[in-house]
Each structure stands twice: as C-alpha cells, then as structure tokens.
Amino acid sequence: MNVAKDAMGLGLRVLNRFAGLKAVDKLGLRKPAEKAIFGASRAGFATVGAASRVFKSTQKLVQPARLTQRSGDGLFDLTPSEEQEMLRDSCRSFADEQLRPAALAADTACAATPELLASASELGIHLLGLPESLGGAGQERSAMTSVLVAEALAHGDLSLAVACLAPSAVSNALVLWGDSEQQSAYLPAFAGEKSPAAALAIQEPSALFDPFKLSVKARRTPDGYVLDGVKSLVPRAAQAELFIVAAHLEGRGPALFIVESSTAGLSIQAEPAMGLRAAATGRVVLDNVVLANRALLGNGSADIYATCISLARVGWCAVAVGTAQAALDYLVPYVNERVAFGEPISHRQAVAFTVANAAIEIEGMRLLTYRAASRAEQSKSFFEETALARRLCADKGMQIGSDAVQLLGGHGFVKEHPAERWYRDLRAVGFIEGVLLV
C-alpha cells in the first residue's frame, strides 16, 4: 500500500513539474496537461481504495452455487394455455381471411353483410361464454379468453369485430347476472349456431357522457318500470332483437334493463359515425317503454353495474390492441418496401422511431389489458387496472392509428389502404362505453 502511495506521489510530482514549465504554455499544452493531472490523480486514489481489499476464499466449494430456476407459472408468465392459443388462432385466421377483405365494403355500406355475420356466428363466438347446461361451450368463466378472442377478431377489423361480438355482450351479461327466470327466457335463443342480434346500450348522445350519470330514466310503476330517453352508438341497433339498456333507476342509481326490441315505444334511428361504421351503429329511442318487473337485471345492484362498465371497457381495450397490432403489422413491411430518395423509408429515423414506439406502446396496452382481464376473471378488484388500460389504449390507439396514416404518406389518406379506417375506428376507443363485455 505504501508502495502504491509513493508511486502515486512520485507520479503527481512529475506531472506537477511538467505543468510548471513555461514551455507548456508556449506549446499550448496547458489545458491538456491540467486534464492529465486531474485524471491521473483521480484514478490513482481510486486504485489506492480498491487495492486495500484482500480477497481470500473462506470456504471451498465442490461445485458452483446458483439460485434455482423458477418454474414457468410465475408472476410474469403470460403464455396463453394451449386451448386459448387454439381459440385465438382460429379467430385470427377468420379475422384475417374473412373480416379484413370484407371490411372496406362493410365500412362503405355502414353494415356487415348477413353472410359475414352468419359465418361469424357459425364460428361460435357467442357460445364461449354460455354454460354447457344451456347448450353453450363455456365451462369456466374466462375474461382472458374473451380478451384474446376480441383482440384476434379486431386484428381483422375493429368495426366488424364489434359487430360480431355485440350479441355475446348481451348473453354474457345474462349469464353473469340474470336470474333463472331471465336466463330461461332469453339464453336458449343464444345456444344455437345462429345467435340473435343483440347489443348493450350504454352510451348516450350527451356532452361529457358519464355512464354513472345517465339521462335515460327508469320510473318504478306498480307492475314494473317505464323507460324514457335516448341511447346512442348501439351496434347493429336496427337488427338487434334484444337490448340490455343502462338507465337511471329513480331513487336507486344506474341499472341494467333487458329490453326486447319489439317493445312498444322503442324505435331505432340510424346514426352513422366517423368510425365503427361496419358495426351499423344506431340510436335507440325509448319513449315511455313499459317493462315488466323481470326486466331489471341483477336487482339493480350498483356493484353489478360498475362491473359491467369495467368489463365493457376491458373489451374495448382488447379490440384497440388488436387493431393497433394490425396497423403495426401493416406498417412494418410497408416502410421496409416503400422506397423514397433511393432507400426504404424505414432508413429515416423519423419513420423507424415511430414504428418502434408503436410496437412498445402496443405491448404496454396489451399488458395492461391482460392484467385487468386477468384480475376480473379471478374476481379480484380490477377497476383501477381497467382505468389505466383504457387511458393508455385510448391515447396510444389513436396515436398509432394516426401514425399509420402518416407513415403511409399519400397512401394513408386514401381508402385503398386500411390505415385511414383503422384511425377512424381507433378514435372510438377513448369515449365509447359499453358495447362489448368480456
């Protein structure tokens, strides 16, 4: 140690003497010399400190010690089960081969063709959440599986995915909260290969719509309820045979009502929008709609209503993830193949960074969505997780849609490419309520 100190002292003395020479200034070496002294002394002191420790083995190991490998079922293993993968793959093939090619026409026509909806129905999406005792295929409740299915379908097209999933939202709500009388009245119709068109109606045409402050009112009467008000952006409104309508039950708060579309006083107005066009959105006008006692779902419980809103939001996050992923999958080959100024546009940082950011954001959206769904299916509180997922999916979904249009340049703006449609559809994620239910 003394040797080290002495050596350092000697070195510093040499450097200092060198620094003192007038020639140093003459040759313009003043700054570098000072730097050298500073650097040398700092490194020297660090060496002195490190040299003071003596490493000695205190025990002899026969073999190296390592921490054991954790098994795969830990906190961060998000691998879907084999069955979930098969479900997802089947939906994904259907989405990419059937929904995607039909999306432009459906968007223009503001409706999906009956054949397309029938083939989606044949796929049996609506049977997943229906118990086997009622002719469905569901065994255990899995919000995660529903999320994977919704995400896969939305990879084909968001609006068509919404159209395909709308009936399941109603059957899922009935399975979750319907009493035996309600279930036996409505669920058998959903058990066949052709599910009835049905939809949740939560959204209202009001500024700053809040699903917990509804303007559709439900009045208690001696025999049941009377509903008044307007619901908006209800998918497949004109075809739907059954609605679940959110209304403010006087003296209680927001609640869900089962409303058959043939009920007197109920009328439908088409309401084509910027996005979700293939979902054939419409307004449901309720004018003095008289309902029987059994129309109230889940006894009007506030918890059930809040859960319904959250599950619907998770559903929206899932379709946002699917469509954002579709946009990314479309962008990557495009920016690598599109040549401008003699090279692929992906060689430009502005393009490459945008694509990389989209990939990062999508994974974030996906993780938050999966987390919310996973907590929901375990019956843990998932409201906060849902709120986070919704915020991120709304912001980033829209951003990714917009970036997709931007990176496609002139192609992004025309309907020949799907980017502009995805952008319009992804804009819905931020404000729409209660169309899907996972």
Binding site: D89, S93, F94, G124, L127, A137, G138
Partner: protein, 248 residues
C-alpha cells in the same frame, strides 16, 4: 367405417425458416408450429365424409414428442372422435413412422388411411406410400376428389396430363392434394370440446416397431440468395445479356 387420419406437427407455413448456423437442421425452438396443411385437408375430407354418413368414426394419429398433443387437439377440434399419440421424442425416420402408422391401422381395423400428400417440413412425400406397401394395400395419392361407396373408393388425382380417376378397393390409403377441399375454421365450441376427447398414448414398442436408422441428414443449407436483377434498355442489350449467360 373407420378412418385413420395421420396428422403431423410441422413448422407453421407462415414462419420464415432459418437454418441453424451449424447446418444440422432448421431452427424449431420457439417457432410457431401447426398441423401440416395437407394433413388439415385430409382431416377436413374425413370430417366431410363423416358428415355425409360415409364414415362412422375418425381417429387422428400422430407420431412424435409430447408437443404433438397440440396437433392432435386441433384434429379433435376439427371433428376426429378420438386420437392416438405414438409418443416418441427425437428424430423419427419416415420408414419408422410409416411402420408405426401401419401397425396402428392394422390394430384399429380401419378401412381408410388418410394423410396429406406430404408434410411441408421435409417434403418427403413417403408416408402414405410406405404405409400402403407395408400393409399391401391399394393407394390413391394426390387426391383432388374422394368418393366412398361401400367397399370401394373413387379417387380423382391430379397428374401432369390432367385428371386421373382411380377406383380402389377398401381398405386403402388416400393422400390429399391441395385442391381436395378448403379446411374449415375451427369452431370455438369444438375447440373447447376437444379437450374432453380421449387420446390413447402408444409407443413404438407397444406397436411392435423397431426404429430404424437408414437415413441421416448430413447437411442443411439455406437456398442461395437471389442476386439483384439488371435493367436493360434495348432489345439488343437483352439479347446480348441472355447470350452472355448462355441462355440463347
């Protein structure tokens, strides 16, 4: 009538295949696998024939490691009634697989052996033919149309000169070509039901098959990269370029 449908787990057709750096094969770790597409077509045909009432029971069969169970589950979701898994890890040679499949076919007393014309991984195009030879059965390969009638099968096959129609006595081996049919999407409820259907696990020894080692892969290499094309301005230049390459 019982049909045995052979399904193979292969690297998914969408995956860009990468050769291992040491040339010992292609990368299969962490790569998406699915049912060989030609086997899917064979499976679909069997299911359609069952729907028409020509076949009463469909048994899916595969040879390979534990992961092949996935493939059997998709076969069960397609509509197979039950499955046989000849569980053997490691590389399996075509002849060994054919022997095992033939033994299972005999054991089950099935009438039709369906398979894809070839698997998209090794393109061997041998299994169906070998099974037929081992069992001394008639074979109708590359089928583009299949009709079963009593103890006969009428099979249209695509050959270079056009279409050839064969009539074979059952039991027989039929392998599916691309245009035989278009496989359906797996219905979600069928996927859920598939896990309840039984899978019978067998092995080479339980079927009395001794694995052979007649074939050895010595080297796997990627196809040569396509070189960039050249642009010619005039016809003369084109002719000169073709002549230069000895093509004219």
């Amino acid at each position: 009538m019982k049909a045995l449908v052979s399904v193979k787990r292969a690297v998914d057709y969408n995956v860009r295949i990468q050769v291992k750096p040491d040339g010992s094969g292609v990368v299969t770790e962490g790569v998406k696998h699915s049912m060989n597409p030609f086997d899917e077509i064979a499976m679909e045909e069997a299911v359609r024939l069952k729907e028409k009432g020509k076949i009463t029971e469909i048994i899916a069969i595969t040879v390979g490691g534990a992961k092949n169970e996935e493939t059997l589950r998709s076969a069960l979701a397609f509509g197979a009634d039950r499955a046989i898994h000849i569980k053997e890890e490691g590389e399996i040679q075509p002849l060994t697989a054919a022997k095992a499949l033939a033994a299972a076919f005999k054991k089950e007393g099935a009438q039709v052996f369906f398979a894809g014309k070839q698997a998209i991984d090794d393109d061997a195009n041998q299994t169906g033919q070998m099974v037929a030879s081992l069992l001394d059965l008639p074979q109708a390969t590359f089928a583009s149309k299949v009709e079963l009638d009593g103890n006969k099968a009428t099979v249209t096959r695509e050959v270079d000169a056009g279409l050839e129609t064969l009539e074979v006595d059952l039991p027989a081996v039929i392998t599916a070509d691309l245009r035989l049919n278009e496989p359906r999407y797996l219905k979600l409820p069928d996927i859920m039901k598939a896990k309840k259907k039984p899978i019978d696990v067998q092995s080479f020894s339980s079927l009395g098959v001794t694995p052979g080692a007649g074939l050895k892969t010595t080297k796997t290499s990627a196809p040569p990269k396509r070189s960039k094309g050249i642009v010619v301005k005039t016809v003369d230049e084109l002719v000169a370029a073709l002549k230069g390459k000895g093509l004219l």
